[in-house]
Symmetry: C2
Subunit: 372 residues, 2 copies
C-alpha cells in the first residue's frame, strides 16, 4: 500500500515521499503522461533517466486501445509497456468530457461514442475502477465529471454533487490490495463549492486528494485563485494532486500552495512541436536563428540531446520531420521539468522556495520571446 | 586512408575488413541508411548497438537540407549527427535520377529543380565530390547517371559512357587525404556494357568498386544475372559494393557472388510500416493475429524490442501510430540485418556459406506469409 511522509515544509509547500511496492516518488513530483502505454517517443529507461519516478496512464485511451484484455494478457500495464516504476491512472472522466462524442450522462455514468470506431461505450464509477484495477496502477483516480467552463453556480453544484456521489461509489468498488484511491475535488471556479467538495471527499476518505477541472479554459487568475484558496485546505497528511498542470510557472505556484503532484502533456507535446524549455525561456526550433547554432539547447543540461547534439541539428531534424528529433526534444523537456522539480524540492528543504521562485521567474521569459 | 584485407574466402565469397581512422568494418557489411543525418528514428548509439559499423549518408538530401555550410559549422557529418564511426556518402546521382524534377542532363552534370523549394540546383562530378569532401565521409562515391530501366543497348551505352567520363572527373577532383573514392559500374542489364564499364573504371583506378543501377525496377532474374556475371569480375583486392540492395535473400546472393558491402532502406523503412524480419519470415504488425501475442518478435533476438516488449505491445504502438513503435521496430530490423551479416561472415570463415544459405532459405518464408 502507498505510504506518504512529509519531510520538510516551507510556507504551504511540502517536500515528501510517496512509497509504493514498485519504488518511491519524491514530492513535489511531476508525472510524465504515457497516454497510450508509452510516454510519447521515448522508451521506459529514458523516462527513468530523465528523473521521472512515476508516470500517468490514461484509462480512457487504454480501454479503447489495445483493450484491457490485451494488457491483462501481459499482467499489468507495467508489464505491457515495460515501465517498472509506479503508475497513476486517471479515471477517464476528463477524456470522456474532452474527447468523446455524443455523451449521455446519467446518474449511472456516461454513455458515449468511441472516437476510435464509433461504437457505443459506457463508463461509470464501477467500470472505471474495474479498468484501473486491471491495469494494476499504484494510484487509481475516482471517476468524475469535469465541470464545464464557464458554468453557473447551479451547474457547477449539480456537476460537483454528481462527482461526489460517483466518488463514493468508486470507494465502494473493489480494488487490488495495494492500490491507492484518490478523490477529485470539483466545483468549477466557486471556492465554496470546492470546499464543500473537499469536505464530501474527506467524509468518504481517500488515500489522496486531487484538484480536477482546472486548466480547462478558464483565465489563469481563476485557476490561481482556486488553487491558492483550496490547496492549503486539502487534508495535510495526504498527497495533494493538481491535475493537468502545467507550465513551469504553474508548477511553482502549485507547490507554493501546497501541491505534491502534477501531470501535464506540455513537456512532451511541446517537444514534438519543436518547443524546448530552458531556464531563460523557450527555444522554438522553427526559428531560423538556430539554423547554424552549434550550441546545445541549454549549456549544463544533462539530457541526451544536450550531451551530444546542437540546436542546429535538432532544428534540422525538426524541419525535416525526422522522428529522432521528437524524441531528443522530449528527452530534453522531460529532463527540464524533472530537474526543475528537483530544484524545487531542494529549495523547500532549504526554506527558500520563495527566493527560488523569484530567481527562476526573473530569468525565465516563458513563452514571450525566442532565446538567443 | 582506407585499408582492405581479405581474411577468408568461400567460393566467390570473401570475408574481410575495412579499416578507417574512425574504426573498422567487418565485411561483408550491411550499411544502414542515414539519409538526412539520422538513421530514421534511432540514435547513433543504438545504430552501433545493432551491430552496424558504417552508415550511409545522402549527399543529395544533405546538400539541400540543412546545407553543407550548417554541417561544416559542426566539423564533419559525423560531428553534426553524433555518429563517430565511418560514413559512406553516395554521390547524389541516384537521387537526382529518382527524386528530382525537371532534370536537364549535360556533359557537365545535371541541373534540376529542388524538391524542397523548387529552386534550380546544379550537381556534377566536381560539385558532388566537393560536397562529399565537406561532409568528411570515409568513402566517397563517384557521381554517376543511373541508367533508366528499361533501356536499349544504345541508351545504356550512352548513359554508361557518360558515367565513365564523370568518374574520371571525380577522380581528378580534390578529396581530403583520408577519403577513399569508389567507382560505380553502370551498363543497365547488358553484361558486356557492365564489363566495359568496369574496365573503364579500373583504368582510372579507384579504392573500391560498386555496382549501380540495380534494384531499379528490373525483374529479379536480371538483377541476379548481372550480379552473378559481373561481381566476380570486379577487382578482387578492392572492396565491392552492391548499391541499394536489399532483401535478406539478395544479400545472400550478393555475398555468394563476391560482394563485400550493401546498403538498403528496407530494414528501416519496413520497420516504420510495421514489417518485422524474423528468421522464419515477416511479422506484419497490422495482422490481428498479433493483437494479444505476448511473445517477442523473435525468441533469442538480442535487440531492445525483443528484450522487453511483446508483439502485442508493438502492434498496439503501430496501430496507434505511437512513435516509440517505429523506433523499436527499426532497432529490431537493423539487428536482424546485422546479425544476418555476422552469421554470413562466420559461414564464410567456416567454408559453409552455401549450406548456411540453403538452411536460411529453407526456414525463411520471405514475404510470402505472416508468421504465427
Amino acid at each position: 500500500m502507498m505510504k506518504f511522509s512529509i519531510m520538510d515544509t516551507d510556507g504551504e509547500a511540502r517536500r515528501g515521499r510517496l512509497t509504493f511496492g514498485r519504488g518511491s516518488v519524491d514530492t513535489p513530483a511531476f508525472m510524465p503522461v504515457g497516454t497510450l502505454g508509452s510516454v510519447r517517443t521515448v522508451a521506459p529507461g529514458e523516462v527513468r533517466d530523465s528523473g521521472a519516478q512515476i508516470i500517468l496512464g490514461n484509462t480512457f485511451h487504454l480501454m479503447l486501445r489495445p483493450g484491457t484484455d490485451v494488457i491483462q494478457a501481459h499482467g499489468t500495464l507495467h508489464d505491457f509497456m515495460g515501465w517498472d516504476g509506479p503508475i497513476l491512472t486517471d479515471s477517464g472522466g476528463f477524456q470522456v468530457w474532452s474527447l468523446a462524442d455524443k455523451r449521455h450522462i446519467s446518474e449511472k455514468g456516461v454513455r458515449f461514442k468511441s472516437p476510435i470506431d464509433g461504437s457505443s461505450v459506457f463508463l461509470g464509477p464501477e467500470e472505471s475502477i474495474a479498468v484501473q484495477r486491471s491495469l494494476g496502477s499504484e494510484v487509481v483516480m475516482c471517476f468524475d465529471e469535469c465541470t464545464t467552463y464557464p458554468a453557473s453556480v447551479a451547474q457547477a453544484r449539480e456537476s460537483m454533487e454528481l462527482s461526489m456521489r460517483w466518488a463514493s461509489r468508486c470507494r465502494d468498488a473493489p480494488l487490488a490490495p495495494d492500490q491507492a484511491l484518490f478523490g477529485i475535488a470539483q466545483g468549477g471556479m466557486y471556492e465554496d463549492l470546492r470546499l464543500e467538495s473537499l469536505e464530501a471527499l474527506e467524509t468518504v476518505g481517500f488515500e489522496g486528494y486531487a484538484l480536477g477541472g482546472l486548466s480547462v479554459g478558464e483565465p489563469k487568475a481563476d485557476m490561481l485563485r482556486i488553487l491558492k484558496s483550496v490547496a492549503p485546505r486539502m487534508p495535510s497528511q495526504k498527497p495533494r494532486y493538481l491535475m493537468g498542470v502545467g507550465k513551469p510557472e504553474d508548477l511553482l505556484a502549485g507547490v507554493g500552495a501546497g501541491i505534491d503532484m502534477f501531470d501535464c502533456v506540455l513537456p512532451t507535446r511541446n517537444a514534438r512541436n519543436g518547443w524546448l524549455y530552458t531556464r531563460t525561456g523557450i527555444v522554438r526550433l522553427k526559428n531560423t536563428t538556430y539554423r547554424d547554432d552549434t550550441r546545445p539547447i541549454e549549456a549544463g543540461c544533462s539530457c541526451p540531446a544536450c550531451e551530444r547534439f546542437s540546436r542546429a541539428y535538432l532544428r534540422h531534424l525538426y524541419v525535416t520531420r525526422e522522428l529522432l528529433g521528437a524524441r531528443l526534444c522530449t528527452l530534453h523537456n522531460l529532463t527540464f521539468f524533472e530537474e526543475l522539480m528537483a530544484d524545487i524540492r531542494e529549495s523547500i528543504s532549504c526554506g527558500r522556495l520563495m527566493a527560488f521562485t523569484r530567481e527562476f521567474m526573473a530569468n525565465y521569459a516563458g513563452e514571450r520571446r525566442d532565446m538567443a
